[in-house]
């Protein structure tokens, strides 16, 4: 006998928690499944104050938001199954799980995929050497485990992830030898760059990493200026003595589970790649399947949280725990907030990409 649940959430990051909390508060029986030993996704390694409006808890540090969400989930009666990997989602909401080497199946009347995203790799000679790690790995090591991944670090990528993680490595006492950015301009927020520049970290614009050298681990990075125009090759190499190279070169939505359900999708480069199409209520083209957060297009934690809330409210409505009229009011408020986060020169590209995804 497969155990049935009204709502199963896969992934306990901001999107999954936001959805679980909203739905459970409205009376839905919610099971949240997460492969980690603790829910919160990547929130607990975010030690900086978040942007946004005060509705989005702007000015509160990510790990503090994580703590609040866990408390809210507990209060709302969300059941949490940790250390459990969802390895497949099948017809009618049947989910294959693995826990402690045992396989089990459950079924959700509604299933929310909130699996987040994974960090992109970058291939260059030496990129497989120990000491070449993702920016997120560095952040996990330093902010969760309180261990420095290296002493002299090169960051590849000047987007917000590269800038924020560089800053956090400085805060933990590492030295950032430089940030390499292939574009002729810093691609993240200038205010994040400002913090690092005040600390005297050089930002090498129009530069790329050419190779990593070292016997058994990274000992040196070779960076090179990129010529103007695509394919024009590299010029002027610089050798930097580093022990660690961090890659902050984008994220890709983790959509495997969503796609195996057969939902329709679309490729949107600025959302990280292939993304399940969804409606304004976060429902996919598969009636019982919902998506939210980075798995529905890579944005930021505040967006993921509000998308999750939207999904939670929509699912509660679809299970008749909420009248369409009250649901509409709640959803409109959330869309208002989401649109405010998708404004300005940084946000509007994501806004238009999301609009193209929408199933009406």
């Amino acid at each position: 006998m497969i155990k049935k649940h009204e709502m199963v959430v896969i992934g306990g990051g901001p999107a999954g928690l936001g959805a679980a909390i909203e739905a459970a508060r409205l009376g839905v029986e919610v099971l949240l499944v997460d492969e980690n030993l603790k829910p919160g996704g990547q929130l607990f390694k975010q030690i900086h104050k978040f942007f946004g409006s005060t509705d989005h808890l702007a000015g509160v540090r990510g790990f503090e938001i994580g703590k609040r969400l866990l408390e809210e989930a507990q209060e709302a009666g969300v059941k949490v199954l940790l250390n459990t990997k969802a390895w497949g989602v099948f017809g009618e909401g049947v989910i294959g799980l693995e826990k402690d080497g045992q396989s089990l199946s459950i079924q959700g009347q509604r299933v929310l995929i909130a699996t987040g995203a994974s960090e992109n790799a970058l291939a260059f000679p030496g990129s497989t050497l120990p000491g070449v790690i993702t920016a997120g790995a560095a952040q996990t090591m330093v902010n969760i485990h309180r261990v420095l991944p290296g002493k002299r670090i090169l960051m590849v990528g000047s987007g917000n992830v590269g800038l924020i993680v560089s800053y956090q490595l400085l805060q933990a006492g590492a030295s950032i030898v430089g940030i390499v950015e292939m574009q002729p301009n810093i691609t993240g927020y200038k205010v994040h760059a400002g913090k690092i520049m005040r600390a005297g970290v050089p930002i090498y614009l129009s530069h790329t990493i050419k190779k990593a050298r070292g016997n058994r681990e990274v000992e040196e990075a070779v960076i090179a200026k990129v010529g103007e125009g695509l394919g024009s090759g590299c010029e002027a190499e610089t050798e930097l003595a580093v022990d660690t190279i961090c890659l902050a070169v984008g994220l890709t939505p983790s959509v495997e589970l969503a796609l195996m359900c057969g939902c329709s999708w679309r490729y949107e480069a600025c959302l990280g790649g292939v993304v399940p199409r969804h409606g304004r209520n976060m429902a996919t083209s598969v009636p019982w399947l919902y998506v939210a957060g980075d798995a529905a297009g890579v944005e930021e934690a505040s967006v993921a949280l509000d998308e999750g809330r939207l999904a939670g409210i929509s699912i509660a409505e679809s299970l008749n725990y909420l009248s369409p009229a009250s649901s509409k009011i709640k959803k409109e408020e959330l869309w208002h907030r989401l649109n405010s986060l998708r404004g300005g020169p940084f946000g509007e590209k994501r806004y238009y990409a999301k609009e193209k995804l929408l199933i009406s």
Binding site: S53, Q171, K190, G200, S340, G343, G344, F346, G347
Partner: protein, 141 residues
């Protein structure tokens, strides 16, 4: 923007990119900072309302707000900025004042370190700097 007449410390907001963010607006107890709707508006400082209290410095998630007092002394100005590093200097210590690029400008005395609870682990440091560097000093080393 009305120029501040009486002198004294005034906030300097270095936020130019229409980021969706507005905690500065609510951080100001005197209503001197306006963002409005949409929250991607650039913050606007009404200097005549700014009392130089420094609340906004620690609340800005981008660490993009500073305080400058050019009327402090004949030859000296005060610059305040957020500083989330260890070790935290103590009042009276002499440190190196640096500009926006981390370049050394002069030695400077720490006047005050404001690390009150409501600043949520973003201490604000007040430095006494030569007046000619008041618009350049933005951190310390």
């Amino acid at each position: 923007m009305k120029k501040k007449q009486q002198g004294g410390p005034v906030a300097v907001i270095e936020c130019w990119e229409n980021i969706p963010c507005n905690p500065c607006e609510q951080s100001c107890p005197h209503g001197a900072i306006q963002v409005g709707w949409p929250i991607t508006n650039l913050p606007r400082l009404e200097e005549s309302l700014c009392r130089g209290c420094g609340q906004c410095i620690a609340q800005c998630p981008g660490q993009a707000i500073f305080l400058v007092d050019k009327s402090y002394k004949e030859e000296l100005a005060v610059v305040a900025f957020p500083y989330e590093y260890l070790p935290l200097p103590e009042a009276g210590a002499v440190v190196t004042a640096v500009n926006r690029f981390g370049e050394e400008l002069s030695s400077a005395k720490v006047l005050r370190v404001d690390n009150r609870r409501s600043f949520k682990a973003t201490p604000v440091i007040y430095l006494e700097v030569p007046k000619q560097f008041a618009d350049e000093v933005r951190s310390l080393r």
